[in-house]
Symmetry: C2
Subunit: 279 residues, 2 copies
DNA sequence: CTGAAAGCGCTAACAG
DNA sequence: CTGTTAGCGCTTTCAG
């Protein structure tokens, strides 16, 4: 019998139970929404007894090394915010532990809590058009991203329905660093400037605004800028944005992992993307 | 002999080695700099074979529960970004694993990679005074924070040296949410408005700016706003800020933990706080 | 130099 | 119902 100040060893428990109650949170790089998302994800995880390990994967090799933590039983499950390797490669790790993401990916063994950007994006264009914006610019993420493809489909369909509108200003980016500034330079250089531009991320939109203002332009008078996250930055910059429910996505992405790992079932949250006015 | 597809079990290794190579990153709540800091901290940790567990402690009880992970050998060490319990209470856990923080705390068993805010703050006030700002406002963090006390000492000493200056506008806050807006309301209501205001965080300064603009004020014409982190937000909002070297702090805070846990020694980085102009 | 064994600290199963 | 034991998978030690 030990003395009364006995402290159980968690690692021994983990070995025995073959569970660490730890989930990996993988993102290629840091951008502001990572923090917000992680905040939501970690809190719901903590409520159900899980802790969250953060990994900034940076390289394809590193991402694989991190996924291999599932095979060594260091992690019970994995959430992927931004990936590097192909979904095929990633999904091959699902047999070692459940994997979820917020990206739109169609694999039987990866839970995807995606939002269909098509209807909301079409709705936003309609809204802008009704407010007199015939020339609408689009700053989009990479086309390898299914959300981006949904957006370009919406653009094409909208263009077909409203031939008098102009959707020619389209930019595609793979990262978020320096992007807003680059887009602003392109806008300043454009001969036929769109009167409104929709962005794939609040942060990029914010950088766009600040670069425009630095160049003596007025926002929203010269250009209405629309963000895409409903994050704090959107409020700060006083821009309209699109709520794509990342908080619910974080919630549901965890719920899936939990349900896969445990016998009891937690229930999913509904999500409802919507336009958010500048405050 | 097993087949060739043998995968070692990390948890068994951890049990044997009595090491998890995992560091806890504790913060009371989320605010934008948390993400930036975590990014720096996690990357340097990963370079040296450590992963980082994030905890949003929220309550005093929760924070203790998290610190107890040191006693159960779930965590090797702990970094504290924002605390809840007293440093006395926290330091009593140092015998179970090294603890570091970026706060200014004078405990033999807690490494504090603090920046002395006194000289840089005095310098900033001087700079503003030389540029014609006789009435300078101060939005500060809690007085239980040693950095805040260094700032108030700088204010008092400056006031003594320049009796014609006005430093009466002083606000103290415990959190970062809604703070900038509240400070802006106070500024708008003030009869004797300071022509420049220095903030304890970029994010709070940004919120202040956006609230002022919403109320028809011009920044920086009506009020020069100075931030305090040199974070992305400062660039976005085009405000001058103070670089307090949080990236170096993240680096050094990790180095300490590493050196305590290992026999080899990594070396610390120098830090040099400085004024950063609006770009 | 190679191979077996002990033990890290826990929990589940089993015996008393 | 209580107490002992086997084994989770690794590493270190010790014997061959």
């Amino acid at each position: 019998m030990h003395e009364m100040n006995y402290i159980p060893n968690q690692v021994a428990k983990n070995l025995r139970k073959k569970r660490t109650n730890t989930i990996g949170f993988l993102t290629k790089e840091y951008f502001p929404l990572v923090g917000d998302f992680l905040n939501s994800f970690t809190k719901i995880a903590a409520e159900h007894g899980y802790s969250v390990n953060v990994y900034f994967t940076q390289t394809a090799d590193n991402e694989l090394k991190t996924l291999r933590l599932l095979t060594t039983h260091a992690l019970d499950a994995v959430f992927i915010l931004t990936r590097i390797n192909s979904w095929d490669t990633i999904s091959s790790y699902a047999k070692f532990g459940p994997i979820s993401t917020w990206h739109r990916v169609n694999r039987p063994n990866i839970y995807s809590n995606f939002i269909d950007h098509y209807p909301i994006y079409y709705h936003v264009m309609n809204h802008l058009y009704d407010n007199g914006h015939k020339n609408i610019g689009h700053v989009l993420s990479s086309l390898r991203n299914a959300n981006t493809r949904a957006r370009t489909r919406a653009i094409d369909d909208f263009k077909a329905s409203y031939p008098d509108s102009n959707q020619d200003f389209q930019l595609f980016y793979h990262t978020q660093t320096g992007t807003g500034e680059d887009a602003a330079q392109k806008w300043l250089a454009a001969k036929n400037k769109p009167s409104a531009v929709i962005f794939y991320a609040d942060f990029v939109a914010a950088e766009f605004i600040s670069t425009l203002r630095k160049n003596g332009k007025k926002v929203p008078d010269d250009c209405l800028v629309v963000g895409s996250d409903n994050s704090e930055i959107a409020h700060m910059m006083n821009m309209p944005t699109i709520d794509l429910c990342f908080r619910n996505q974080a919630h549901n992405a965890f719920i899936y992992l939990y349900n896969e790992l445990n016998s009891d079932r937690l229930s999913y949250e509904n999500q409802n993307p919507h336009w958010v006015d500048a405050n």
